[in-house]
Amino acid sequence: MSGAAAARHKPWRSLRREREAASFGTWIFIGSEAMFFAGALLGYAVYRTLWPEAFAEAGRETNLVYGTVNTALLLTSSLTMAVAAEGARARLRRLTLICLAATAVLGLAFLVVKGLEYREDIHKHLVPGPGFKLAGTPAAQIFFAFYWLATGVHALHLSIGIVIVGTLLVQAWRGASPLASPAFESAGLYWHFVDLVWIFLYPLLYLVGRS
């Protein structure tokens, strides 16, 4: 397909090899990100094993509606991102632009819902510290420590993803960046990873104590 095309950056000599490298590098980076979130998940697992009732009690305080809506938004955005990446590979400009835009919009919608959820959580005194809602269950604060930390770090990663997708959208629209660039596939991999993290976080934060 693009095998003979010249690479865009040194030291690569063909675009095909450059794409291979970008994809390979992104996978390794995702490996490091997986270890990052694994550290948090391990902490969560340890404390849930130590304090199962406290975690169940705290878990029932999260807003299941917001969480489920967000899951749906993010899963859909992964679909649009996948189509965008494939569209770029197939040089379908309009499809790529539409799907990149949809991905960014869905990501932003997730952040908006998250913002509403955070506001409600603060209102309900679910921030660890003095004045915490479940005062009789100290370990419930640990559940919410992980809730705020994990969703916050996830939202940060998502925001970075939105910026990347937005930048690609603008560059592709202006023609400054050819659709053959390896960046589309790398961005897609990153987006899917952020989605995957959420798929882990959703049951751990929203479904515990609710079965």
């Binding site: 304090w51 009732e53 406290a54 009789g136 269950t137 100290p138 370990a139």
Partner: protein, 314 residues
């Protein structure tokens, strides 16, 4: 304590002798390996320096293959042997014998507070009898400290929020350094004291001569009533709460199907986090005492509940 320059610390406990044996064994093995490597380096560097007349040429196949496998296997065997030796010593020394003299240790920035069973208290000091097993039950009031007595080859971290234990049997009378071995802030280096080993009769006389206070269990009994524990746990109570007679050390069946042994940690957790491990057949109605007790009061309650074993066991 020590005069002049010594190369070996005093060995004043049973464990110390076993540890020293391993250490000497390791010194011998390490020395031999180091000597071997040094000799080979010296010999090769001299014999095969550039331009010397020693024969060069190919390495025979057996050197290339078998020697390589040989020393890998030897290294592995040696490693496993040392592991087995050290692990055996550790497993054997693991648990204190029953009936050991129990000392409670409270660590805080930057001092050690020790309490004997009869209520005698010391600061930055610990007197113990020679030849008797001594069990230390320790907790910290702030950060992690570490109770270190080099002469006993004894070290155990002391943590906030839980008890850690260690034990020793002193073999030599004398006065030995007590040091804090986990960095704990500004005066970590000054958190030091002395462990004094005395002959058993001397120790008894010494303990009896200390300022008398109610012993820990009696104080705990008073707390048990004043805090309202007896309201539910006493035999005459109308509330359905488990009896605590003989509970310490017993196997408990929990409502979620697990079984645990009621050790210090379990009893402590039951007071602070009562909803966590509920006994089978009982409702989780016990209120928590987290925030209502300090460490000292907790230790007294613990001493009292443990003492129920001797008094009321059928």
């Amino acid at each position: 304590m020590n005069r002049g320059v010594s190369l070996w610390p005093p060995a004043a406990s049973e464990y110390a002798t076993a540890v020293d044996a391993i250490f000497i064994g390791l010194l011998v093995v390490s020395g031999a390996i180091l000597l071997l490597v040094a000799m080979l380096l010296l010999v090769f560097c001299t014999r095969y320096r550039r331009g010397s007349s020693a024969p060069r040429g190919d390495l025979p196949e057996f050197i290339r293959r078998d020697v390589e496998i040989g020393w890998t296997a030897a290294a592995l065997f040696l490693a496993l042997f040392i592991f087995w030796w050290a692990a055996s010593v550790q497993i054997h020394a693991g648990t204190p014998p029953p009936g050991a003299l129990e000392i409670h240790v409270d660590a805080k920035q930057w001092m050690w507070k020790t309490r004997h069973p009869n209520g005698a208290r010391e600061i930055n000091a610990l007197h113990v009898p020679r030849g008797e097993a001594v069990r230390l039950v320790m907790t910290s009031q702030d950060v992690i400290h570490s109770f270190f007595v080099p002469a006993f080859r004894l070290k155990q971290d002391v943590l906030p929020g839980r008890f850690t234990e260690t034990w020793f049997r002193a073999t030599q009378p004398g006065e030995y350094h007590l040091l804090c071995a986990e960095f704990c802030g500004t005066d970590h280096a000054r958190m030091r004291g002395a462990v004094t080993v005395m002959e058993p009769e001397e120790y008894t006389r010494w303990a009896a001569a200390q300022p008398m206070e109610l012993d820990l269990a009696a104080e705990g009994s008073a707390l048990f009533t004043s805090l309202g524990c007896s309201g539910c746990h006493a035999a005459a109570s109308s509330v359905h709460a488990p009896s605590l007679a003989g509970i310490y050390g017993r196997v408990i069946h929990l409502s979620d199907g697990r079984t645990v042994r009621a050790d210090s940690a379990y009893i402590r957790d039951s007071i602070l986090q009562p909803k966590r491990d509920v006994v089978a057949g009982y409702a989780p109605i016990m209120p928590t005492f987290a925030g209502l007790l300090d460490e000292g009061e907790l230790q007294r309650l613990l001493a009292y509940i443990e003492s129920l074993r001797a008094a009321e066991r059928r």
